[in-house]
């Protein structure tokens, strides 16, 4: 299992589009991915779970990845979280 603390780069936090992109990536990775903010942990493949964490810009979250190739998947997901996805 890989675990990492990550600071959120999206200016509107992990809500609309960024939440969708992140959840899609987590779901399609094939690994078991959880995201924790404070004392609440949710399945990262659940857009409702992720949205309900109420993650804002600059918040720190903890990501855990379990499965094959966990290190690479962690790298990709981290990239998504630190990048500002709100401006297109």
């Amino acid at each position: 299992m890989v675990e990492r603390n990550i600071r959120i780069g999206s200016s509107h936090g992990l809500h609309a589009r960024p939440a969708k992109l992140f959840t899609q990536a987590a779901a399609s990775s094939g690994a078991t991915v959880n995201i924790r903010k404070g004392d609440k942990t949710v399945n990262a493949a659940s857009i409702l779970g992720v949205i309900s964490l109420g993650v804002d810009h600059g918040d720190e979250v903890t990501l855990t990845v379990e499965g094959d190739d966990a290190e690479r998947i962690m790298g990709e997901l981290e990239e998504l979280l630190v990048t500002d996805q709100d401006e297109a």
Partner: protein, 555 residues
């Protein structure tokens, strides 16, 4: 019968109504007769079907609408939701009831979080309705798609509804709820659709009723007489003619020129703005250049090339470029990466540029270079100016770079109140009504829960605008408007009455504003402005001016 609401724009439409279907009834909480496994597989099958349908809609819709729909498709099959539903079916509930309760529990969580997340609750409700409809074998509530053009009557429209609305078929929108800043109103303005929002009792209008929708008057007339229909059709023809008539420069009835300019966000939109009769550019936003650039600011050469493209589209005409307006809702990593509690009150606009002066200097260098290569009349202005000292700083710096015409945006009440002193130093002022409204009413314009405050008709906002108009007249300084307010045809007349000398708006709004201005002379505009200033709130200002304008036209 006549129903009254808030009209968006000046359009008129004649047609038959189609009602947006009512939400489905709440599924009864009766024990399942099918058994838990069967109920769960019914639920997951319907969730999958809805998700596929939403994905298909996302593909057709494209753009930002596609993002909303794709997110909804994911909600429809959300694993956390499936967990909740399987618990509910295991406890003996029907699939319908389990879906209803599970979605509702997430909806309540989102609503409790308020603000932006609270607004997502509507998206979730929509998905829930679709799944329950699929389970019950009834059509999903949603935008109807009849063959003939129609007038859509609804409680309010969600983005998911309007994303797939076939705009060629929609003659007009009538909603019982929602105000001038609702999603429906914004869509109507953007697409120039005739609309009346907040129409009391609109839902009592039956399907297939003949109506005249008159946005200028804010009325929906049911079963109109043949004479009324003929009159409305004449007005529709007049508007169509005006839209296709040779584009005359913006002016009042007495010939007072009020140049109508375009708000542009990129060089690509310049040509279509010219086609719609833009007499120049009142606001050219430069953010996208920087947002696209990523982690560093674009080079002087890159910027110059882009500015040249915009300026070339307007030879001999005014092009007002706003220097980088970052911060708050559009942060840039190389400008300000501090985590601010209140970004709208933070290091943004000119404040951020001053803290990173090289970025401002590079931008002014690029603008001066583009100016030298083209024939447009380049004006530059700074966003978020709040003091006289900042005015002197920016105008002085721009002049130093050889930019002859330098001005300030008025978005902060402090600078509006000291407009007489600020305008002594600026070559022009341009009022950003969206931010001016946000700061005057202390209501975050990005926050849905306080959206009701975001109304530029508010007399407090108008009084500040009149201060600037007065200062402009006293010092002989041009005062433009470049916010959403200028696109409201009636408010545009009020703004001219308050002293605005130019109006800048999204190009789609130009035709209606042009048509509205020529109906009033300067005296009338000033009388309407006085009436708006004397009102107690935004709604009464709007209705008092609407009434006064109607009676002025009859004289």
């Amino acid at each position: 019968m006549e129903f009254t609401g808030t009209g968006i724009g000046r359009g008129v439409a004649v047609g038959q109504t189609v009602r947006m279907p009512d939400p489905l009834p709440e599924p009864a909480d009766t024990p399942s007769k099918r058994g838990a496994d069967d109920e769960l597989s019914r639920a997951t099958a319907s969730m999958g079907a809805v998700a596929r349908d939403l994905e298909k809609r996302a593909e057709i819709a494209g753009g930002t609408a596609a993002d909303v729909l794709e997110a909804q498709a994911m909600m429809a099959e959300d694993p956390s939701l499936v967990d909740l539903i399987s618990q509910a079916t295991a406890a003996g509930k029907t699939a319908e009831r389990a879906v209803f309760e599970s979605f509702a529990s997430f909806r309540d969580q989102l609503t409790a979080m308020g603000g932006y997340l609270g607004e997502r609750a509507a998206d979730l409700d929509d998905v829930s309705q679709r799944v329950i409809a699929d389970l019950s074998g009834v059509p999903a509530p949603g935008v109807p798609q009849p063959e003939e053009p129609f007038v859509l009557v609804a409680r309010d429209l969600a983005p998911a509804d309007t994303a797939l609305l076939d705009l060629d078929k929609v003659l007009a929108l009538v909603t019982s709820d929602g105000g001038p800043t609702s999603h429906t109103a914004i869509l109507a303005r953007e697409k120039a659709i005739v609309a009346i929002v907040g129409t009391a009792d609109a839902l009592t209008i039956e399907n297939g009723t003949s109506v005249i929708v008159d946005a200028a008057a804010g009325t929906v007339m049911t079963e109109p007489s043949a004479a009324a229909v003929a009159d409305a059709e004449a007005r529709i023809a007049e508007r169509r003619e005006a839209a296709s008539a040779p584009l005359t420069p913006g002016a009042l009835a007495d010939g007072t020129a009020v140049p109508l300019l375009a708000n542009l966000g990129s060089g690509d939109a310049a040509a279509s703005a010219v086609e719609l009769g833009a007499e120049g550019v009142g606001l050219f936003r430069t953010e996208f250049l920087f947002l696209d650039a990523g982690q560093t600011a674009p080079s002087v050469d890159e910027q110059t090339a882009h500015y040249v493209r915009v300026l070339e589209a307007f030879p001999g005409k005014k092009v007002t470029v706003r220097v980088l307006d970052a911060g708050a809702d559009k942060p840039l990593p190389f400008l300000n990466d501090a985590d601010e509690e209140n970004p709208a009150l933070g290091l943004r606009g000119l404040r951020a540029l001053r803290a990173n002066e090289q970025i401002l200097r590079d931008q002014l260098t690029a603008l001066a270079a583009a100016d030298a290569q083209t024939d447009a009349d380049l004006w530059v202005m700074a966003p978020m100016v709040s003091t006289v000292e900042e005015t002197e700083y920016f105008v002085g710096l721009a002049h130093e770079f050889g930019l002859r015409t330098a001005g300030i945006m008025v978005e902060v009440p402090s600078i509006a109140l000291l407009a007489d002193r600020a305008l002594a130093h600026a070559d022009f002022a341009s009022i950003g009504t969206n931010d001016l409204t946000q700061y005057t009413l202390a209501a975050d314009r990005l926050l849905g829960t306080v959206a009701g405050f975001q109304d530029p008709w508010h007399p407090a906002v108008l009084r500040l605008i009149s201060e600037i108009g007065q200062a402009g007249a006293d010092t002989g300084t041009p005062v433009g408007i470049c916010g959403e307010a200028a696109a409201d045809p009636l408010l545009a007349v009020v703004l001219v009455g308050l002293g605005a000398t130019t109006l800048s708006m999204s190009p789609a709004a130009l035709a209606d504003v042009r048509l509205s201005l020529v109906r009033f002379d300067r005296d009338a505009a000033q009388r309407l402005a006085r009436i708006a200033l004397d009102a107690h709130d935004a709604a009464s200002a709007r209705s008092a001016v609407t009434d006064a304008a109607a009676s002025l036209q009859k004289e």
